[in-house]
């Protein structure tokens, strides 16, 4: 008995100490250490590959480093904002992004017949990137207010929220981004508990609409990309060139690769877009199957950490958002890694956090910033043991 009392007395200060210590340094600065460490590993590895892909173009590399600094800064900054604010301002954020997308249609600039950029005072950015975050935030905020699983009315509204920007982005045209934006919204619906029968129905409709889509919606170049997937040899020097060369680069890497900076496909310019969309082919050529394995492992670990954060999130909005950000990130990876290896048609999706390019990097890191925020949000109910 005395023993127990003693125990109680002994434990009390400890317990209160423990309560205070719960807010660790990581929590104070709103950084999830595991995720942060994995991201550092991935971006570091990415820089290595990019160095090889850019053939020691130091200017290019320096620019990318600056982007990394900006992106990490943005991640850090956004992680500090209370998640409640995003939920509150979600509609405004969404509408703002939508307006910019409309502006792009009229005043957008770009290359190769696509208008994707807005240019403001020499600074160019892609409103569709902004939508990648605005969309899941808006839908997560909208659905988390409702009782879940969502009712038909709310599903319908959510679909409208998804459809409008998607159509605007398709118009640019930018099929890759539009798919990602739409998916990021639909994933929220999925996590909100969209009944399986709806999902099944949606898939059925999707399958049924392949034929009309093919004939009436897709552009010629998009059709040719799909056709190329099945038979790249048909147009060796044209549409098939990219995929043939990337498969050659990957395949010739073998198990352990040709060695860093020794990739012939990329260094002799056979591999197109070697520092942007097709950068994994450079990795596969120089580091072989082992390199690919390591990279995919890093991605899977990051995604698992994201899913873990989503599981432990504190309210409906946060977990929907965390789930969507994480799964969207995986879709990025899957689509890119799949298309470069000839598993999926070529759509313009960069390899996240590795491909050259600032805008997508910043968007992604902002997403991770949100994840960090969710992960380190102070517990509202502390005695939930």
């Amino acid at each position: 008995m005395i023993q127990r009392q003693h125990d109680f007395i002994r434990r009390m200060p400890e317990a209160s100490h423990d309560l205070r210590r719960r807010r660790s340094l990581w929590q104070i600065i709103h950084i999830d250490p595991t995720l942060f460490f994995l991201l550092l590993c991935l971006t570091g590895f990415g820089l290595f590959i990019l160095y090889s892909a850019s053939e020691g173009n130091s200017g290019l590399l320096r620019r990318q480093m600056i982007f990394f600094v900006i992106a990490y800064g943005a991640m850090f900054a956004i992680a500090q904002i209370r998640l409640g604010h995003f939920a509150r301002w979600s509609l405004l954020l969404y509408l703002g992004a939508l307006i910019l997308l409309v502006l792009v249609l009229f005043w957008g600039v770009g290359a190769k017949g696509a208008q994707r950029w807005l240019s403001v005072g020499g600074f160019r950015f892609q409103p569709s990137e902004m939508m990648k975050l605005a969309m899941p935030i808006a839908i997560a905020a909208y659905l988390s207010n409702k009782s879940l699983p969502p009712r038909l009315k709310h599903i319908a509204w959510s679909l409208v929220f998804v459809a409008v920007p998607t159509v605007l982005i398709i118009k640019q045209p930018d099929l890759g981004t539009s798919i990602l934006v739409a998916t990021s919204g639909l994933i929220v619906l999925f996590y909100a508990g969209l009944p399986w029968r709806y999902i099944a129905t949606a898939f059925a409709i999707l399958l049924a609409s392949i034929w009309p889509m093919w004939h009436y919606v897709l552009h010629d170049y998009q059709r040719s990309r799909v056709l190329t997937l099945f038979n790249p040899e048909a147009d060796k020097l044209g549409a098939g060139w990219n995929i043939i060369q990337s498969k050659t680069a990957i395949g010739s890497g073998g198990v352990d690769g040709k060695g860093w900076l020794n990739g012939t496909q990329s260094h002799l310019d056979f591999l197109p877009e070697s520092h942007t969309d097709f950068i994994i082919a450079v990795l596969a050529e120089e580091f072989g199957f082992i390199g690919v394995l390591c990279l995919l492992l890093l991605y899977v670990l990051i995604i698992f950490r994201g899913l873990f954060i989503a599981l432990n999130a504190q309210d409906g909005f946060q977990r929907l958002l965390a789930g969507s950000i994480t799964l969207t990130f995986f879709i990025y990876v899957f689509v890119n890694v799949g298309m470069v290896s000839g598993l999926l048609p070529v759509v313009g999706v960069p390899l996240p956090l590795v491909s050259l390019g600032g805008t997508s990097l910043v968007t992604l890191m902002l997403g991770f910033g949100l994840l960090m925020g969710i992960s380190t949000e102070p517990r509202r109910i502390t005695s939930n043991r």
Partner: protein, 652 residues
């Protein structure tokens, strides 16, 4: 089901969400495994394939052209040379607008529409990306400078130095040395696999003449260079090199001074001159007139130029010396006389009376002599000197076609001479068998008579006639005529085909008769024998082009030029120790003594006395000039047909 469920069921929501996160986790793992399987398939299972493909991408096997062997004449004069030439080509992948570029280039240089057409043809052909397409050859220094100045406007335009075949002697050896030209599709089709390997990346191949016959030797062996290239076909470094083997140099028996003399002597007449070294069978000169400039063909002849050559009534492209088949006419009479003597059909003193015609028993037809009044009493000597047809009708009749055929064959008549030139024709030395097989007719005695004076079905090329007379000159040593004297300083030994056996006194007798043709006051070629510082021997011939009907006389004045007889002459010199044997044919030259014999004299003078001649104007057919004095209107092939059908023979 509607309104009451407004309250959030947190527990249910959390459970649903957690379940879906788990589903997601499983999906992520499954898809990641799918991706890994894909990369495993590419990188581990199919590694060999892709590694090979990657090497094929970056490693280009370039052929390194061997230097083509040079061709010299017997005195060391260069007949076929390789000269650096600047070639303008375009890399279409680097030229933003090909039409614009071409237009600009046309302003800067002289580029014909033909060149442009050729360019587009090659552009559409089988071609690796970034492989340059040639547009213009033989750029001048000034043109190169103009391109350099305008380089910034000419993206994709390249100037490259390449060795191009050059024939410094031009028309002199167009038919004999021949020329190289672009490899055409038909030639590609006929190549063996090994040849395809050899000629990949090569531009030209021997087309005619020695250039074609000795193609393999002149060509050498290509070398290979394995280079690493990037996607724009830019060569970055050489990985491996196997050096080419240069082609062998050829020295010919030809003497370009003598060849020039042949052209000068022929003037603007059509025909052929062949001179053979009696002691070896080496061809000292071989000319077919008119000629043309072989350099036109080397980098691809323009349609206009080619059309002019092809359609010219003087058919310059036709090599009369080894492909033209003419009735040998009286030029075979010395050979026939020798045959009669050595077969003991006649004796040296055998005589007949020549009334101006010959008649077979039970045949009303008159086989006429060229001299209507006849030569009176003739023996074999007189028959050769004055070219009596009647005597040789009689001789032929007595000898019979079988013996005539056998004897003539020993002199190479009707046989390929085996000369080292392509596309030689072998003429025709008729026999019973030939007539049965080809004409499906029996042999008639009249046929024998016609053959006996070198008419009827008998046909021979100028080279065959030269070889025949050379065989006589060497007293029976029938050499294979040869163009090449040595290959890379290794002498080609003379080749004897057969030795014609005959008594020395018969040889002496025939020699003497042939000398009299030139040097006796009544010889048919006495005009060329005048004031010659050496003795020569020969025989004239006049080959009929148009058939003369019975009872009709030949009136050269009335006949159109193209229907006039061909003039022939065969001979050798010096008489005592023959060195050079010559055969000359002058198409529509009317008579052998008047047209062909003087050419032979000039050839003898040149070779024996060094009195070489040069043509005043090159006897060449080109786009811009059709020599005025070649008044012929008709194709030779038609004429030859006429000659072959010309039933009524007459010889002189």
């Amino acid at each position: 089901m509607q309104e009451p469920q407004q309250f959030k069921n947190h527990l249910l929501e959390t459970r649903t969400f957690s379940a879906r996160i788990l589903v997601t986790g499983a999906l992520v793992v499954a898809l990641a495994v799918l991706l890994l399987a894909r990369y495993y398939s590419l990188q581990v299972v199919n590694y060999e394939n892709y590694a090979t493909q990657s090497d094929n991408n970056r490693i280009l096997v370039q052929t390194v052209s061997p230097q083509r062997g040079l061709i010299f004449d017997s005195k060391g004069k260069l007949l076929a040379d390789n000269r650096p030439s600047y070639i303008l080509s375009i890399v279409p992948e680097n030229a933003p607008n090909i039409q614009e570029t071409l237009k600009l280039l046309q302003n800067l240089l002289t580029i014909s529409d033909d060149d442009i057409e050729d360019f587009y043809t090659s552009l559409k052909g089988n071609r690796r990306p970034y492989q340059p397409v040639p547009l213009s050859y033989r750029l001048t220094e000034e043109e190169i400078a103009r391109i350099a100045v305008n380089e910034y406007r000419l993206a994709g335009v390249e100037v490259e130095a390449r060795l191009v075949r050059d024939y410094p002697e031009g028309y002199l050896f167009a038919h004999s040395v021949g020329y190289v030209g672009k490899i055409n599709d038909r030639e590609w089709g006929k190549f063996t696999e090994e040849q395809v390997k050899q000629y990949q990346g090569m531009h030209t191949i021997g087309k005619i003449g020695v250039e074609k016959y000795y193609e393999e030797m002149l060509f050498g062996k290509v070398g290979y260079r394995h280079v690493e290239i990037n996607a724009r076909m830019r060569v970055l470094r050489t990985l491996e090199q196997q050096n080419p083997v240069a082609g062998k140099n050829l020295q010919l028996h030809l003497d370009s001074e003598l060849q020039k003399t042949a052209f000068a002597a022929m003037g603007n007449r059509r025909g052929a001159v062949v001179a053979i070294d009696v002691e070896t069978g080496g061809i000292l000169a071989i000319a077919s007139t008119p000629s043309y400039d072989p350099n036109l063909f080397v980098t691809g002849i323009s349609y206009k130029d080619y059309g002019a050559l092809r359609d010219s009534p003087y058919i310059p492209l036709f090599d009369r010396s080894i492909q033209g088949r003419y009735p040998p006419a009286s030029t075979i009479k010395p050979m026939m006389g020798l045959a009669g003597l050595s077969e003991q059909v006649i004796s040296q003193s055998y005589k007949i009376f020549d009334p101006g015609y010959y008649q077979l028993e039970n045949d009303e037809r008159l086989y006429r002599d060229w001299k209507r009044t006849g030569h009176g009493i003739v023996n074999v000597h007189k028959a050769i000197v004055q070219s009596s047809d009647t005597f040789f009708y009689d001789l032929a009749f007595r000898m019979g076609i079988d013996r005539i055929h056998r004897f003539g064959t020993n002199f190479g008549l009707g046989q390929y001479t085996g000369v080292d030139m392509p596309n030689e024709r072998r003429g025709l030395w008729p026999s019973r068998e030939w007539k049965r097989q080809v004409r499906r007719l029996p042999w008639f005695p009249g046929d024998t008579l016609n053959v006996g004076i070198g008419q009827g079905d008998a046909l021979a090329t100028p080279l065959q006639l030269a070889s025949m007379v050379s065989t006589i000159a060497s007293r029976g040593a029938h050499f294979k005529p040869q163009m090449v004297k040595s290959i890379d300083d290794k002498a080609m030994p003379p080749v004897i085909i057969n030795q014609v056996e005959a008594d020395d006194r018969h040889w002496d007798f025939i020699f003497n008769s042939m000398r009299a043709v030139v040097h006796a006051p009544n010889g048919t070629a006495r005009r060329i024998g005048k004031d010659a510082p050496y003795l020569m021997a020969g025989k004239t011939g006049t080959a009929q082009v148009v058939g003369i009907k019975q009872n009709e006389t030949y009136d050269s004045e009335a006949l159109q030029e193209r229907h006039r007889d061909h003039g022939l002459f065969v001979g050798f010199a010096p008489y005592d120790k023959p060195k050079i044997a010559v055969a000359v044919i002058v198409e529509n030259g009317e008579s052998g003594s008047g047209s062909a014999a003087p050419v032979a004299r000039k050839m003898f003078d040149a070779h024996l006395l060094g009195r070489y001649l040069s043509p005043a104007t090159p006897p060449v057919v080109s786009r811009d000039s059709q020599p005025a004095s070649f008044v012929l209107q008709q194709h030779l092939s038609e004429k030859l047909k006429l000659a072959q059908l010309g039933v009524e023979p007459r010889g002189r």
